[in-house]
């Protein structure tokens, strides 16, 4: 035991310069990542800011916060919305990103390629707050561009912000609009890594372009696709808060389809001041997230051996 401790001290002393380099990052990670992990106990406490995480008394019964959470019904709804919307994002994201990457590969004019890339990539550079204003410009009832267009054709304007079902589609479209550029790069990288002699051989055999895609590109890009797919599924309990906060905000009329766990937690923490409910929701989000991530990583490892996160 003493020996072990001495060898630990010796190693630290020997490489103290190297360990000191890691120190700033270690401090930041401890403060902003590890300390909050211990903070998960607030889910079982009657939390108040005066006593802090460890000083606040345990709640009685210990599961009270969770009872409230699930009794409210909106937590279950938020969970469903989170998973449902994420599945749509993942599915359509895959189709769009892979599709665009495949089409992009077929282009040969460099100038044209960079023009297309410029456009598709541009939305990734702006914040969701700006996107929120874009959507306001489009969907606002009185002045929105879309209603302007409808009026132009003599149709009745639509009150977009009162139609929850419609927003499922709108969110998916905006998601694709903002993220396709970023996502397709992974597939372009993967496609670029394919040995060109496959295609040359196929051309000699008289394979059509579609056949080349079907029998060469798709199978060889599949491992990348599967890995990204599984890793995205690992994050299925986490919604992109920025997107929902900017586009939906506090519009309760749209909650039935767009309230996700992250907005639910934020609302209870910051607006309703219901820390107990928020931390119970956060607790169950963290635990389930981690479980799903571990399972998905295992699957990624199984289906593409070097495609897992860890």
């Amino acid at each position: 035991m003493k020996n072990k401790f001495m060898s630990f001290g010796k190693e630290i002393n020997k490489n103290k310069a190297l360990y000191s380099m890691f120190l700033p990052a270690a401090i930041i990670l401890i403060l902003f990542n590890y300390l909050p992990m211990f903070g998960l106990v607030t889910a079982f406490k009657d939390f108040n800011f005066g006593d802090g995480i460890f000083g606040s008394p345990w709640i009685h019964p210990i599961t009270k916060n969770f009872e409230y959470l699930f009794a409210s019904g909106s937590a279950a709804k938020a969970t469903f919305n989170t998973i449902f919307l994420n599945l749509l994002f993942i599915l359509f994201g895959l189709v769009f990103e892979l599709g665009c990457a495949l089409m992009f590969q077929e282009l040969h004019k460099k100038k044209f390629k960079s023009v297309v890339q410029f456009g598709i990539f541009l939305p990734y550079f702006i914040s969701w707050i700006v996107v929120g204003l874009f959507s306001y410009n489009l969907f606002n009832y009185e002045h929105g561009s879309l209603n302007t267009l409808l009026k132009l054709f003599g149709a009745t304007p639509v009150n977009w912000y009162e139609n929850p079902t419609l927003w499922i589609i709108i969110l998916v479209i905006f998601r694709l609009w903002k993220m396709t550029g970023y996502g397709m790069i992974m597939y372009i990288a993967a496609l670029g890594g394919i040995d060109t002699s496959y295609y040359e051989a196929a051309k000699i055999d008289g394979a059509s372009r579609w056949q080349q895609i079907r029998y060469i590109s798709l199978p060889l890009v599949a491992p990348t696709a599967i890995t990204l797919l599984l890793l995205n599924c690992g994050k299925i309990m986490n919604a992109d808060f920025g997107m929902f906060y900017s586009m939906i905000g506090n519009n309760a009329q749209l909650y039935s389809t767009t309230d996700v766990l992250d907005t639910f937690i934020y609302r209870n923490l910051r607006l309703n001041g219901d820390v107990g409910m928020a931390s119970a929701a956060g607790f169950y989000q963290s635990i389930i997230s981690t479980a799903i991530l571990l399972i998905m990583n295992k699957l990624a490892r199984k289906y593409s051996p070097d495609g897992s996160l860890f």
Partner: protein, 295 residues
Amino acid sequence: MFNKAKQDLSNLPIAAILLLFALVCILPFWLVLSGSLTAEEDIMAYGYGLFPRNLDFTAYKILANDMSRILSGYKISLIVTVGGTILSVFVIALAAYPLSQERVKYHKFLNFFVLFTMLFTGGMVPWFIVCRNILHLTDSIWALILPYLANAWFIFLTRNYYRGIPIELVEAAKIDGAGEYRIFFRIMFPLAKPVIATISLFICLNYWNDWWLGIMLIDNVDMQPLQLLLRTITSNIQFLSSAGNVNAIAQASSTIPSEGIKMATCMATIGPIILVYPFVQKYFVKGIMVGAVKG
């Protein structure tokens, strides 16, 4: 020659689809620009459209007149972006070096220490309580910088790059009597330029576009970074007139052009990004490719 022409022709539908998608991507930018240049009466009467009926700069004039809030937002975002990026790159580049060296006996533990933060998080509520209650991190520039300094994913990206640098270089420098810090600054850091440039760009964008730290940790309206300011302005246009400076232009035109101002502020926020974007586009794409190929 003939073959090439034929190929170009058959590519036409693909080119058209991609071009159309690219145009759709740019369209909202155009609509907001057009909206910012449309006279308020026209917006009220006809709504936003592709082109302004009458070109009108009132919204921009009012913004220029009430510049102080926007300018302070700019100042905060600039300080946070520049300061945060420089600090973050150093923290990350430094931390990645020991992780990449097998001679560091506990490098596996340190790697796991970083990785674990990607697997499991406390979530929003405990994070918020820790920042506010334990670290007292509110209403300061540090609140907008510190939480993002050590991004685990970027640390791994940099570590992977270092691993490709031949260990002989380090050993040779050691024989010459160089200390670890000297090795880092003279060998590792300069040789890792491609990945450093990549993460710098990403970090810079993260800081510039961030508003999350703002809504969680900034209560003082004067400390709001630009993105959050945009949100405040769009959700509550009255702030301009309540800022004390009821300006002549607004009074003259009897109505404050609130719609136009929203769009003009938006243009002011995305302006810098749009100007920089064409220059960094190719580095950015290359950078993502570096990120996509993981070791």
